[in-house]
Symmetry: C2
């Protein structure tokens, strides 16, 4: 991890700029309209940064809400303002793509707790005039969804054509379908579960401890101190990144291949390609992500347990639903194994919901939802077309 301190400082500033003044549309809800939170507190004021793609039709019936994952953000299908790389779902979203921006109006907000313009731990705490840091309230996935509902209110959208997302994005999709049944015409939760497993909580806890062990975390007040817990956050990312892949994917991609050398060096340099790859993943992540956001968002995922919020019975969460569901899992995803998607399907079946379920054969692990998976593309395209047809959605250029 041999980035120069000057480059690190520059990266931190560039990232901070996106927190305070994002290259996105942004809506500010005043302190007089607090967002109530599951913890009992509230967020006020509240800002939500978001991106849109495509055109809203006159009936406002062609909106697709994209929920991003733990380390994602609102930049789903445009060049990322920090990395300069294509958006995280550029493979999925765009003209003629599965989420076809010639047909649909796509909305992707940054979650609360995030660091790309929506209110999060690096936002200014109105009570102190400084960054919240560890005084930011602990939020839940339901809080994230509640904030998004407020954004839809602001945009005048009663019901989305579809809400879609993978991993934590999928958790939000399920939460949307449970909490705002009438506002969700269709839902596509991908590579997720109705609750976070013990193993997943364990991996998150390791990541948080890695961040908190970094003395530059400064008990969460690193922004005040002019510090940055880059090393701890990089370690957290490296550990997490392994869980996003599969054993087979790593084997196929790297095996025991050496990095730019013919023999092992009998040292602690990155002899193996997989080491070099992981170090790169860790370092590039900290350039674009805030350490406290990582703590708060992983915590929100840990707390996620829809059944627990409905007397311990998952099906209760969806009783009476009219939403059309398309559940997607991947065979090699060991973070959110197919079995957990099947539990959701069973709960939906128990309330006679309209649900289709696709387990996609893939060796790419959990990250498959972000990668080139033609079967996923076809599934999403087909399901959205059917949903639009059932809803009688007119294309933007068909007029009112």
């Amino acid at each position: 991890m041999n980035e120069t301190p000057g480059a690190e400082r520059f990266a931190d500033l560039k990232r901070r700029e996106q927190t305070t003044n994002p290259q996105s549309e942004i809506v500010h809800f005043p302190a007089s309209e607090p967002l109530p939170l599951d913890c009992g507190g509230a967020l006020a004021p509240l800002s939500i940064a978001y991106q849109t793609y495509g055109t809203l039709n006159a009936e406002k019936s062609n909106l697709i809400l994209i929920c991003h994952a733990l380390t994602g953000d609102q930049h789903a299908a445009n060049l990322h303002p920090i990395t300069g790389k294509p958006g995280w779902w550029d493979t999925m979203v765009g003209p003629g793509k599965s989420i076809d921006t010639d047909r649909y109006f796509v909305l992707c907000p940054n979650v609360i707790g995030g660091c790309m313009g929506t209110t999060g731990p690096s936002s200014i705490n109105p009570e102190t005039g400084r960054a919240y840091g560890p005084d930011f309230p602990v939020i839940t996935v339901r809080d994230m969804v509640r904030a998004q509902a407020r954004l839809l209110d602001h945009l005048g959208i009663d019901q989305v054509l579809s809400v879609i997302g993978g991993s934590m994005g999928g958790m939000q999709v399920l939460e949307w379908a449970a909490t705002y049944q009438d506002r969700v015409f269709s839902a596509i939760p991908i590579a997720c579960a109705a609750r976070h497993s013990s193993q997943n909580i364990a991996f998150h806890e390791v990541g948080r401890q890695a961040v908190m062990a970094d003395p530059e975390w400064c008990e969460g007040r690193y922004l005040d101190e002019g510090k940055s817990p880059r090393k701890g956050l990089a370690v957290a990312r490296m550990a997490a990144h392994i869980t996003y892949l599969s054993d087979l994917a790593l084997h196929d991609k790297f095996g025991r291949n050496l990095q730019d050398r013919e023999k092992v060096t009998f040292g602690f340099d990155a002899d193996f390609q997989v080491e070099s790859y992981l170090r790169h993943q860790g370092m590039s992540f900290v350039d674009r992500f805030d350490a406290n956001s990582y703590l708060y968002i992983t915590r929100a995922m840990d707390y996620f347990d829809i059944a627990a919020d409905h007397d311990g019975v998952l099906a209760n969460a969806f009783a009476g639903t009219k939403t059309r569901f398309c559940i997607v899992s991947f065979t090699s995803d060991w973070l959110f194994p197919t079995e957990e998607s099947r539990d959701v399907v069973h709960a939906l079946n128990a309330v006679a919901a309209n649900v289709s379920f696709v387990e996609i054969e893939s060796n790419k692990g959990h990250d498959a939802f972000l990668l080139h998976e033609p079967e996923l593309f076809d599934t999403v395209r087909g399901f959205l077309s059917a949903a639009a047809r059932h809803r009688g959605v007119k294309l933007p250029d068909e007029g009112a």
Copy 2:
């Protein structure tokens, strides 16, 4: 991680005492007898600390060599001098147990690179008079085995009745069988592989980066500086510990159970039992293990690739072997999945070796080899008895 600094210092001193003056038998090989290493260097002088259990018979034919895993040590079946707890294989080794110390003479040495009395990075470097630290040579599993062979020479043992171990211990078993064919009458590699996988290298790299990210690591010279990278090592241990269990084991043991509370606290305390458990694992580990030893031993495992040492063909490593093999794997071990044991079996079959293979149904994950697994106990007991019978081993009390 709220241990008091005073208690931490005391724990560090207690651990250091075992490095320099272990409560074990110890043999010192003088500087005039250097141990050659795969890296091209040598270790001189060399100390090997070991424990024995039972009685060597007159023919010296009833010796069972136990090879310990990454974070194990020589204290397989006695109270541990630091933790005061039973040895790590107390379930397996003892009078009347599967490795029956009434019948066999059991030898368990601490590996080179370790921190319990055998020469490792916290030993004194004769060139400087201070701890080796990062100047310790990078070692391999074959180097560990080469040191053990020297210990057997010293004890006057030509051939062991059996060599047995799990995880990295199993790697040593395979290396013994490959490198010293004539000295191994039988071999029991458990929960291991003939090479370290890409995913396993990746997890090790995360652990090493966690240690190295701790400013108290001091570029490896923490002993000189009076520091101790406890936080980094604890994070490394936490991450590794998850990989030793199975998703199902964690679910059965902890699920989403809360720790001494009825509701989540909306904070970063250990709300969930699995978090509390992991934190405890991390903290107690650093009391008994040296951070640099962790770096060096994980590196040795990463480098392990028996086929690579034999023209890329695993079977070549065992050509002509007369050793009797018993390979054991566990169904829920995702660190060393059964498939990798099967690769070893196939290689042994290819050279017409005497091999039996047992895949044990267990939900305990990789750590199953350390836990109460009756089928493992029965397998080891039966295989050892047969080996002893075939070798014509006389019990210690049968006289010459």
